[in-house]
């Protein structure tokens, strides 16, 4: 059986159009569809699955899928680190152009590659593309650099929490609108049709390749990382980041409304956190405290490395961080109680397992040769397998749409759920609850060594604690 993997998200609409032109006849894969296994009328024997774009290249590389459509940025993110991965770039599909830029902040004195190279201290680069960031740092021959992998919102970090960001955008103007200064364009690319090397060598994929060849116009943008410097006319604007200021990270995404409600309840006034226009730096009415809005997934790591003193995140992400770094200085300060979810182990209804013990039996009897555990929480998944002696196993990192992995591409998911309805809808069942997670205020214990910060942090913690008992507004 031939297998094709398709992107969800930004490339979904154009990809659906291309597939239509090529005669694939997917009625249930279009701009707004949320179907994970669309059926092709043109190729009824073809198995198709929809993934988060970042997962596509990995799925082809490990041989789960013969073909996939994926942005060049995510292909390169894999290939720059794992040179020999089994991916063949078959055809530039001519749409979905995305550039990767290297950018600093307009409050930063860094304006060029030469400024970066002559930087004396450690250069911190934040990016959703950590492999590309590392390759770039090596190419610049930076002696002392830190790569800070992030789930997103990287524009929020420069200049005080990272010197540089690697960020996708269609034009450099988009970056300027985010208070960033583009320094260089490092990758330009469209969506590509990629193939697994083994599949190309051993299977007859011609019936699929030909329609793509005929339906996609000849196009070929830059294929590799190349540094194209941008002359910036942006003026450097100095900004004061005073000593002793407490840096608080608040969540974007679905945690935002919970957090906003809680802050109101606690009597903390904050502007532009929920209201349009959204900003990554809302104003808080609390002396000596500054706020940034970032991804909750990134917060424990960013609090640990001292970028933030405090953050409102979930216990799920705190646990994931602590499992990777047991000696991390991050600690939970207040359990905020909102955003309750369960972190659960999930299998497909067809798998004859009702508990983790049953999974172990399936492994021991050889019915499952190696347990594939897909999760956004890679460290929780790893600990679950270790603690339960589920050997052999491998953890498949995922960036979303994880429930689509079962049963073809994983045996178990470690996932969060509130009601379990979405899981049930996808024909999945919970076999174990690992723990319950709620929103929490976390802090870096080392921040308390600064007496000014200590006093402010303690006041904030007190207000958060009082907020727990306060009536809803």
């Amino acid at each position: 059986m031939l297998k094709l993997a398709l992107p969800k998200g930004a490339l979904q609409s154009n990809t659906a159009n291309l597939l239509q032109r090529a005669g694939f006849g997917y009625a249930d894969y279009h701009e707004s569809s949320r179907v994970y296994r669309p059926k092709s009328q043109g190729f009824p024997a073809l198995f198709t699955k929809v993934f988060h774009e970042k997962d596509l290249a990995v799925q082809v590389a490990i041989g789960n899928y013969d073909l996939a459509i994926c942005g060049l940025d995510w292909i390169m993110e894999l290939l720059v680190k794992y040179h020999s991965d089994a991916i063949v770039k078959v055809r530039d599909l001519g749409y979905g152009q995305r550039n990767l830029y290297l950018a600093s902040s307009r409050f930063s004195a860094i304006r060029s590659v030469a400024d970066i190279k002559s930087s004396s201290g450690p250069v911190r680069i934040i990016s959703e593309y950590p492999n590309i960031a590392e390759a770039l740092a090596l190419r610049f021959r930076l002696r002392n650099f830190r790569i800070m992998p992030a789930w997103g919102a990287v524009e929020a970090y420069p200049p005080e929490h990272a010197e540089l960001a690697i960020i996708p955008a269609t034009t450099s103007e988009e970056l300027k609108a985010k208070d960033l200064v583009p320094i260089a364009r490092i990758l330009t690319g469209n969506a590509w049709l990629i193939a697994n090397r083994n599949s190309l060598a051993r299977k007859d994929l011609s019936s699929l390749l030909l329609p793509f060849h005929q339906a996609a116009p000849e196009a070929e943008a830059d294929r590799d990382i190349s540094i194209s410097e941008i002359d910036s006319e942006e003026k450097f604007e100095s900004s004061v980041f005073p000593d002793g200021e407490v840096s608080l990270a608040l969540a974007d995404g679905h945690q935002q409304s919970h957090t906003n409600k809680f802050l109101k309840k606690a009597g903390i006034k904050i502007r532009s956190y929920r209201q349009p226009p959204p900003t990554r730096r809302p104003q808080i009415e609390f002396e000596g405290v500054s706020v940034k809005v970032v991804r909750p997934q990134d917060m424990p790591g960013q609090v640990a490395n001292g970028n933030f003193d405090l953050a409102v995140t979930g216990r799920d992400w705190l646990s994931d961080h602590k499992y990777q770094f047991p000696a991390s200085p991050v600690q939970e300060l207040v359990n905020l109680g909102f955003g309750w979810v369960r972190i659960v182990a999930v299998v497909h209804n067809n798998l004859p397992a009702e508990s983790t013990g049953d999974l172990r039996q399936l492994l021991q009897s050889g019915q499952i040769p190696i347990l594939r555990i897909a999760s956004e929480y890679t460290n929780i998944a790893d600990k679950y397998a270790r603690d339960n002696h589920l050997s052999p196993y491998k953890v498949i990192p995922s960036w979303g749409a994880t429930e689509a992995y079962l049963p073809e591409d994983a045996d178990v998911l470690i996932e969060n759920t509130e009601t379990g309805k979405t899981l049930a809808k996808n024909n999945l069942k919970i076999i174990e609850t690992l723990f319950e997670s709620t929103g929490c205020l976390i802090g870096n214990s080392l921040s308390l060594t600064d007496p000014v910060k200590k006093e402010r942090i303690e006041r904030l913690v007190e207000i958060f604690q009082k907020g727990l008992a306060a009536p809803s507004p």
Binding site: V80, A137, F145, I147, N305, A327, S328
Partner: protein, 412 residues
């Protein structure tokens, strides 16, 4: 279920380990004889140690095993040691900076990512570093030490190839290439692509002729270097000191009758090399290489300390040295009845034999590499000695007679 070993990893069998230990012993003894002291650096180092421009090339940095440590929340990465010289330079700066001259050696494993799994990801090497010497005599000392080790390992004849990275650096600069292209061409030369020089067109036919000579000719005496010096174009006069330096070492090797090949196409090496580089070939295989790296110690935070060194590749040497057998004949002391008196006698005889230098196993049946089998009589005072291969036996031997028979067979 069988769990296979990691891609690109190797198991070493008892025979391999015999070869390995022999190489170690020869290496240590020779180094010690030349005044070198053994060190060991950690397998984990900070990535930062290797990222300074001039230490490792971007190509090598791209193959590092780098990861966040358990306290790596700051984003600081650690790596599995990819090279022995840079950590030695760090150790020197950290622990021995006050020593004007340090002779150091080590036996360590190096790690480098290799995607296909067809090649080794872990390699063992014997390394020697001479920190603090700028003289050609220092380079000659290293070459002679390497030759002594290889000779004691019965790997002869050895072909030595000499080249000079400093010469290339200066040459690229003198040819007027932009800095980026100089760096690019040098990296190509260091990865073994000497033809990179062929891509350069000099300003004059004279310069082009000289470049061609460098590429195409190999010399076998310091006379060759004299010849090069005499046809050196005026524009490339800055290269002359490097030819002189190479000629200095070549003359020393000439004077002790050691043959070598001056081959500029053998310039492959690390980016930290600054001066003469040398390679050792045994039976057609590259078994070791080294060179001068006068700028490495300052690059890792130390003073202006010149240095040079070499490494021999143990993985290669294991296959090239003669096959070694076990050190002494293995003996099985057989205990069949399981009676207490017999066990006691068996343990006692085994202890006495081990004291005499024999390898003694105990059990009911012989391992395939056992030479002798001994069993004791019921009284525990007389013994039967069986030749494991011929199965001929000698019964009723006293312990002294037993020792005598074993000793006789050892001498044979």
């Amino acid at each position: 279920m069988k769990i296979p070993k990691c891609k690109g990893a190797s198991d070493w069998m008892p025979q391999d380990m015999r070869q390995f230990r022999h190489i170690e012993e020869v290496f240590r003894k020779s180094c010690s004889g030349w005044g070198y002291n053994e060190i060991r650096t950690p397998s984990l180092e900070y990535l930062q140690l290797f990222t300074s421009a001039g230490t490792l090339s971007p190509e090598m940095l791209g193959r590092l095993y780098s990861f966040l440590d358990w306290d790596g929340w700051s984003g600081e990465r650690v790596v599995l040691r990819p090279d022995g010289t840079i950590p030695t330079a760090r150790l020197y700066v950290e622990q021995m900076a006050d020593m004007p001259l340090a002779r150091l050696c080590y036996i360590e494993n190096m790690f480098s990512f290799e995607g296909s799994g067809q090649e080794a990801r872990e390699r063992w090497q014997c390394g020697v570093e001479l920190m603090g010497s700028a003289e050609p005599e220092g380079d000659a000392e290293l070459i002679l030490l390497a030759l002594e080790i290889l000779s004691k390992l019965d790997i002869t004849p050895i072909t030595i190839k000499l080249s000079h990275v400093g010469l290339f650096r200066t040459l690229l600069k003198e040819l007027g290439l932009p800095p980026e292209e100089q760096e690019q061409r040098l990296l190509e030369i260091l990865t073994g692509d000497i033809r990179a020089l062929g891509k350069i067109k000099g300003e004059s036919p004279e310069v082009n002729r000289f470049l061609k000579l460098l590429l195409d000719l190999q010399g076998t005496s310091h006379g060759f270097l004299e010849n090069l010096r005499s046809v050196l174009p005026e524009k490339l006069a800055a290269v002359k000191p490097y030819i002189d330096s190479l000629a200095g070492t070549a003359s020393l090797l000439d004077s002790i009758g050691q043959s070598y090949e001056v081959n500029f196409a053998s310039g492959e090496g690390f980016e930290y090399y600054t001066g003469m580089v040398f390679q050792f070939y045994g039976r057609g295989e590259l078994v070791g290489k080294g060179g001068r790296y006068d700028e490495l110690v300052p690059l890792v935070g130390g003073g202006n300390v010149p240095a040079s060194g070499f490494a021999l590749f143990i993985d290669k040497l294991i296959c090239l040295i003669p096959q070694l057998s076990g050190s002494s004949p293995k003996i099985l002391v057989k205990q069949e009845s399981g009676r207490v008196e017999e066990m006691k006698a068996a343990f006692e005889i085994a202890r006495l034999l081990r004291g005499k230098g024999y390898a003694v196993e105990m059990g009911k049946s012989a391992a395939s590499d056992c030479t002798w089998i001994i069993s004791s009589a019921r009284d525990g005072k007389s013994f039967t000695l069986v030749n494991a291969s011929t199965e001929k036996d000698q019964k009723g031997l006293s312990f002294d007679q037993l020792l005598q028979r074993l000793g006789e067979s050892k001498e044979c």
